[in-house]
């Protein structure tokens, strides 16, 4: 019986329902998780050479106006004050179609590429030569929570795994001491739908996003919630090890037993590595300044952007950063600029502009931008017409699911490039539409994964991040 105590890895990972119990142990921990996915009868990942090994996803909550930021529309300037001139009843949110309104921000060509960007993000604009702006995004919902779920999981409903979870499931983690998928919420609160946005859904729970908060216990239950006798942690662990070893001798060395023992070793590592990565005090002054630390409005995002870089450096696969807290209320704590785009977007952009530009610069100077993908997304865009009475040009804009902008930087995308197009006024996508499924397929592709191969059986369907859709937008690859 004793020789079974060293069950080889193959047997070990065969345990359980279709390998679920098996991948169980792998995940968070093992460097070679990727091979294990093949126990589900799939191609092992990556399917081809990855252009990006890791990703940071900056997710804007509330809906950023593309026509005021990344999608220059001289046609809209000309049409300012005119009616939309269409009898359609667009699927927006409040349904009030006011007159067309030109951008409240000034655009100009940036960098060597001459990419037209507005002065909403003056610092990010300096990094124009690093990014591909997608100006032809579309989505299915003009409603916040479903739209955010869609951007995260490819479905409008609760319960589907998010991009980070799929990436964790497909590619695992490069460190044993930190989770594969880490989430950094806005200091003003979580987005609508809270943790459902980074759920692993039906994927095994180790692929869930782990929220890293500020404070003494950045990860839930990292340290005892009630003070324990000094020194008892190590002693308890040591005792546990011996007790478990005796138990294994008695009951037969099932793989599940050794997996649990190993999980305690890894937990101990996390107790060291999480505080270490969270402690940004050791970062030099010039780096801290780069991210806008020490300046009131950029403090929150700056800390999180810097944390993201530190996490990636240590082998975390996917970090998600939210810009925007709960929807609704006054004053707004998100990008949901129904009342006044200029006021709201200036405030929100001011919180993240310098930190994100700092992140891009820092990644570049460390040579990490070559194989790190930075994603900047919004749940939808905003309408070129004002949200006001039909004969007015109010200062606010409603939700626009028909056309909006996102950008990618680093990790194998073209530099200083724009992809796709909306119409003259920025209302609807007219060229190279990129739906979220396409966006997801493209991101997976950049990370070396064929989106059609990354599947998980759930209630009758081999589920994919991209449902039954998704085209890789190769046109934006470097």
């Amino acid at each position: 019986m004793n020789d079974l105590g060293t069950l080889n890895r193959r047997n070990f990972f065969n345990w359980g329902i279709r390998g679920i119990g098996a991948t169980a142990f792998a995940s968070l921990l093992a460097r070679d998780t990727t091979a294990q996915v093949s126990s589900l009868g799939q191609t092992a990942f990556p399917n081809f050479a990855p252009r990006a090994k890791r990703a940071i996803h900056i997710s804007l909550v509330g809906g950023m106006s593309h026509i005021d930021s990344y999608d220059h529309k001289p046609g809209l300037d000309k049409a300012h004050g005119k009616p939309l001139g269409s009898n359609e009843k667009p699927d927006i949110f409040f349904g009030k179609v006011g007159l067309l309104r030109k951008s409240d921000f000034q655009f100009k060509p940036r960098g060597q590429s001459g990419l037209w960007l507005s002065d909403m993000f003056p610092n990010i604009a300096e990094m124009a030569d690093q990014m591909t702006v997608i100006r032809s995004m579309t989505t299915d919902s003009a409603n916040h929570t479903p739209a955010l779920f869609f951007a995260n999981s490819g479905f409008e409903f609760n319960g589907f795994p998010s991009v980070g979870s799929w990436v964790s499931y497909g590619l695992g983690c490069e460190t044993e001491s930190l989770p594969a998928f880490v989430v950094l919420s806005d200091g003003r609160g979580g987005p609508n739908g809270g943790a459902s946005n980074w759920t692993s859904g039906f994927l095994p729970s180790q692929h869930q996003g782990v929220e890293l908060r500020s404070g003494k216990t950045p990860v839930r239950d990292l340290f005892p919630a009630i003070e324990q006798p000094k020194g008892s942690d190590a002693a308890a662990r040591d005792f546990l090890q011996k007790l478990n070893a005796r138990h294994a001798d008695r009951s037969g060395a099932d793989a599940m037993l050794s997996a649990r023992m190993r999980s305690y070793e890894l937990a101990a590592r996390m107790q060291l590595s999480v505080p270490e990565v969270s402690d940004i005090n050791g970062e030099p002054e010039y780096i801290r300044n780069m991210y806008g630390l020490g300046e009131g409005r950029t403090e929150d995002a700056g800390r999180r952007c810097l944390l993201a870089r530190r996490l990636l450096e240590r082998g975390v696969r996917f970090v998600q950063i939210y810009s925007g807290g709960p929807i609704g209320g006054s004053p707004r704590a998100s990008w949901d600029a129904h009342e006044n785009v200029q006021d709201n977007h200036s405030t929100e952009a001011g919180r993240i502009d310098k930190p994100i530009a700092g992140l891009l610069r820092d990644l570049k100077q460390r040579g990490m931008l070559d194989d790190t993908l930075v994603l900047f997304t919004t749940e939808f865009g905003r309408t070129p017409f004002a949200q006001s009475n039909a004969d007015q040009v109010g200062p606010g804009r409603d939700h626009n699911k028909y056309g909006f902008s996102c950008w990618l930087a680093g990790g194998g995308v073209k530099a200083g490039f724009s992809y796709g197009k909306t119409d003259e006024i920025g209302w609807k996508t007219v060229k190279n539409p990129v739906h979220w499924h396409d966006f997801h397929a493209t991101v997976l592709h950049l990370m070396g994964v064929d989106h059609k191969n990354l599947t998980f059986y759930h209630n009758g369907i081999e589920r994919r991040l991209t449902n039954v859709h998704g085209h890789v937008a190769k046109g934006m690859f470097a």
Binding site: L240, N244, R246, H247, I327, G460
Partner: protein, 1005 residues
Amino acid sequence: MHLRGFHSILSVLILSLLGSTGNHSFAAAIFDRDVAPLLIRHCLECHNGFDLKGKLDLSQRDAALKGGKHGAVFVAGKPSESLLWEKVAEDDMPPDKPLGQAEKTLLRDWIAAGAKWGANDDLDPFQYTTAKRGGYDWWSLQPIGQPEPPEVSQTGWGANPIDAFILARLDAAKLKPSAPADARVLIRRLYFDLTGLPPTAEQVAAFVANPTDAAYRKVVDDLLSSPHYGERWGRHWLDLARFGESDGFERNNVRNNLWPYRDWVIRALNDDMPYDEFVRMQVAGDVLKPGNPAGQKAVGFLVAGLHNTVVGGSEFMKKTARQDEIEEIIGTVGQTFVGLTVNCARCHNHKFDPIQQKEYYQMTSAIAGVFHGERSVADPELARQREVLRKQIASLSEELARIENRARETALAKRKHRDPEEKPEPPTPFARWEFDTGLEDSLGTLHGTAKGDARLEGGALVVDGSDAWVETAPLNSPLRAKTLEAWVALGSLNQKGGGVIGVQSNDGQFFDSVVFAERESRRWMPGSNGLVRTKSFGVPEENEAHQQAVHIAIVYQEDGTITGYRNGAPYGKPYKTGFQEFAAGSSQVIFGMRHRGGGNNFLNGKIHRAQLYNRALGPDEIAASAGVESTFVGEAELAAALAQAKLARRKALKDQLTGLSAREQELGSGSSMKVYTVAARGNPGMVRLLKRGNAMDEGEVVRPGAVAALRMLSSDFGISPDASDNERRKQLAHWLTDTNNPLFTRVIVNRVWHYHFGTGIVETPNDFGFNGGRPSHPELLDWLASEFAANGQQLKALHRLIVTSNTYRQASAPRADGMAVDAENRLLWRKSPVRLDAESLRDAVLVVSGKLNPKMGGPGFRDVSITPNNGTTYYEPIYPEGDEYNRRTVYRFSPRGGRSAILDTFDCPDPSTTAPRRAVTTTPLQALALLNNHFILNKAGAMADRVASHAKGNLDEQVKQIFLDAFQRQPAAEELRLAKRLAGEYGLVTLCRSLFNSNEFVILN
């Protein structure tokens, strides 16, 4: 599939006898028997009426003879001139897998013989299973067989026929079953499996002393009649029912009244309600048993899932949201009761199973009257429960009052000896308006401007109830917690909706105001935008304020608590709601008006003085400000007057009373209770097929019905398309539970097997279709299903049968021979070890720490904070203390996205979709939760305390007791030595904490 080869060979023989001259009528007969199946299996996937690759439809006589975009594909009698033959012969078609030689010959000969179509014009593409999809011949759709237990090698091994089926497959794989598990392992396995709780050390000892078959069977019977059985297996059922106590989606509002469904499930299982009845009740209990509260509670199943309450403005969004809701229900009904993913046929025919899109809409029609909602349900139980509750509350309140009155007297007595200078000073406001000589803020910058007819007179601001108000300069700092205060006299008690003092966003869209009689006549209340933060204080009518000025104050805390005061004394009951912050610059104070832009907005009265605080005042501060010689004794003063023990008792009483009052409020006052259930629409109208699932693209009207692939049942319910909801759901319930429905019983026996063994005979319990698993023991599955039907569909009999088999009683240790051949243990050469599920783990910790509160039923305990925040609800784990929170986990309030750390890391699914099997993972986060979570450490402490008081000072005894409680065994000598060393150095709590983390505690052999 298995007949294919045989048929082909036969037809080749026949056709070759015919020779090339052919015999047309005979060829037609051959078509029906041989050619049609070939076309269906190999061609119709792409060439059917819907798909039409190459514009060719081979599913229909005329279309097939007409051909595709290149014209006719058959030339009768001339294979060599037929395009179809050409493609087949060259292996161009079928594209993925060319036909075999015999099949090719068959086709060629049929064309040669005249290419005659058969008796039916149309071929049914679902007739046969193909390489890519299931047909009507799919295994799970066939009637249930009556297999005899097979002959086996070890005739002595079997305890019942299950073992023969298992042994037969083990024989075939040249494996032997494992030895029986030892008595202690077996009895612990049985307790957890049937009740979800560990046995006591005594129960284990009794069985170990006498581990006979009879004794084992006795324990099985005892456990099946224990009420804990229903709690355990009810929890399994709630996974399938995606039982969630919040709406999900954007708002994710709390569902306060879905728990009666959970209680109904537990009770029905404990009563061993026949399974078909159990299901009929959940699909149509309200219409099958009108007037019986059980029926209304049971159909909670249909609406226990997500509910989108923000569907958006456009017609498209509204209709789509309703269709999404229907799909969610059909998906759950189909998968749970018959293992079919009918929901996959919403936009097109099912890609893998023989289910047409039309049948999906037939089911849509069957449930078209089902909507989410709350209903009042008459329940005679209520009066009794209320009486019990009232007595409890009365007795606890009396005790609390005794303690507090005595403390109050002590405190007041102390005050008399106090230096008069200690008398509380009135608090300093943030802003003050005296209204004596002007409208200015005498403390700060919030100076007022008169609007309309507002005027000063006799040291008061006078407003006349129409277009007269005062507004101030914008706030110069953001306002969070606040207190609004005013001395006001009313012109009349019969006015409605006017505001005294308020804070609003400049446009009036957001506000908090002190309002008179807006929602309830003649009462003061906190007015707010859309009444979102307005609730009743539950006070009597105002009857003085028209004769003399009264002092009114409303306090807003940041946690959403709102408290009212009148003349310095508390005004009714405070309550908790959302919280609104007011931004600097864009907010202002207003007097005489509720908010800008409202109707019935203005106050008729005199405001003598008003004050604003940028914090929440306490009761004694309010009293001081009101200038009342207060006999109010504040919390700190009261606490200071109480001895430690009394203080603790008081806290316990208050906690209990809070819980009981909440419960009382939920029970209401009538003879009925609120239940979250189906709010049926009696005449839901006709349902049309939606083309490509597009809610705006309606097709033909469909009749209420179900799936046609179960050929032994009628998929048409035989009622008109506009039949009543009653009629539709009754028919659906009968269709599902029909004794001839083979899936109904196969699916449930497999589920029960799955929960006993960790893997089902079919490993996908919700999917018996083409994408699901194939049965590892098909004959056993049918044998169990037919036994189950023959025994009146009683689940307890099925459990008994399974757990008394020798298969179930095997040891769990891995064996090299077994691992080599069948590492996943599909053949059951051992009993697979089981990692405790999240609920069993938490419950086991409660039991062994001596803290389990066995109370059954009622609203769930809430170990999450609930924070409504601007249209979304957040749920965060909290760790309140008290008996209520030590109930079994099945009674936990279970909102979507609000699992506690233990549940979350130990794979308890979020109730967003039906969860037929849980993942079993092992992660460092799980280890951290079990090591450090508040609940675990708290219970480790409780266990240590209890043991310490039992065997005072004797570490040896204490350690032994802890092992007995946790593992139901004595420690071995070495374990005792190590444990004593640990406990000696770090205390018993460290030992208890360690044992909760041990493999022996968490994994069952």
